[in-house]
Amino acid sequence: MGMALDTQSEISDAALLAAFAAGDQSAARALTARHLPRVFAHACRLLQDHAEAEDVAQDAMMKLWKIAPNWRKGEAKLSTWLYRVTANAATDRLRKRRTVALDAAPEQADETPSAEAGMIAGDRQKALHTAMEALPERQRNALVLRHFEELSNPEIASALETSVEAVESLLGRARRALASKLAHLRPSAQRDKQDKGART
């Protein structure tokens, strides 16, 4: 009954869901391998907490298993549906905890040549994450889906159950908010600051 593992990469999500619903455990493995990394990474980016992201990812996949027998072909793209489920679950968690411990954020790989440069880069990323966390939930969701998951605006609209125009508006506001919050990190702003300090 199980499908050959080497051919599963070519099988559509809908076919895998149908196979899973019919009792094929290898379809569950294929779907997990295909979607869990994305779901987990998305949850991590939204929550900035590894343990909570694991819970959210597990919940999202659980919903996938439950909906499998009723999944209709062509209704929605599975990855978009999963992004939506993950974003909703993450939003629920974020509402429960208003304050976020940044220390729990997943560690970023340090690829900068010097320790000082690495620290600066790390600080910038930390500041970016802090600024993103301060964004309203829908703006943050749209921003993460656009710039991290690299979804198109129509895909984001589908994931957030809104219009493309609303997505454009959300992204515009999110970017303006980020620009305002992170203005002090701009190289020109830092140079101005240094110049001012040297003059006084």
Binding site: T32, A41, Q58, M61, K66, L128, H129, A179, R186
Partner: protein
């Protein structure tokens, strides 16, 4: 550097950082959930049409036995009616089958039907 470019650069740098990967424990939990739900959700296979139809007579074996008996009965009745009627002791059995309304036995009715159509 404009603020737009600055934000783009920051987001690009963040995006280029390797994404956190799910642990093997998480993967195992997810697959265990799938297995649990699969066993709970998989309905028992529906009996096929013929299986449902033949179940009152004992399934396919019962149907085959019934068909054999019917064929044998028709064959014997059509080809060897006289020999069957001559079987010793059959008279007393047939006497119990006499239809009181017209006084004919089932075999007589059958003989009449076969001879006169």
């Amino acid at each position: 550097m404009t603020s737009e470019n600055h934000i783009d650069a920051l987001l690009r740098t963040a995006r280029d950082c390797p994404s956190p990967l799910p642990s093997t424990e998480l993967t195992s939990r997810v697959l265990a959930d799938a297995a649990t739900l699969m066993h709970a959700a998989t309905p028992p296979p529906k009996p096929r049409f013929w299986a449902r139809l033949l179940s009152p007579i004992g399934g396919a074996r019962g149907a085959v036995a019934l068909a054999c008996c019917a064929s044998l009965g028709v064959f014997a009745g059509a080809g060897y009616a006289d020999e069957l009627l001559a079987l010793p002791g059959l008279e007393s059995v047939l006497a119990g089958l006499v239809d009181p309304t017209d006084g004919t036995t089932p075999f007589e009715s059958l003989s009449l039907l076969m001879s006169e159509g």
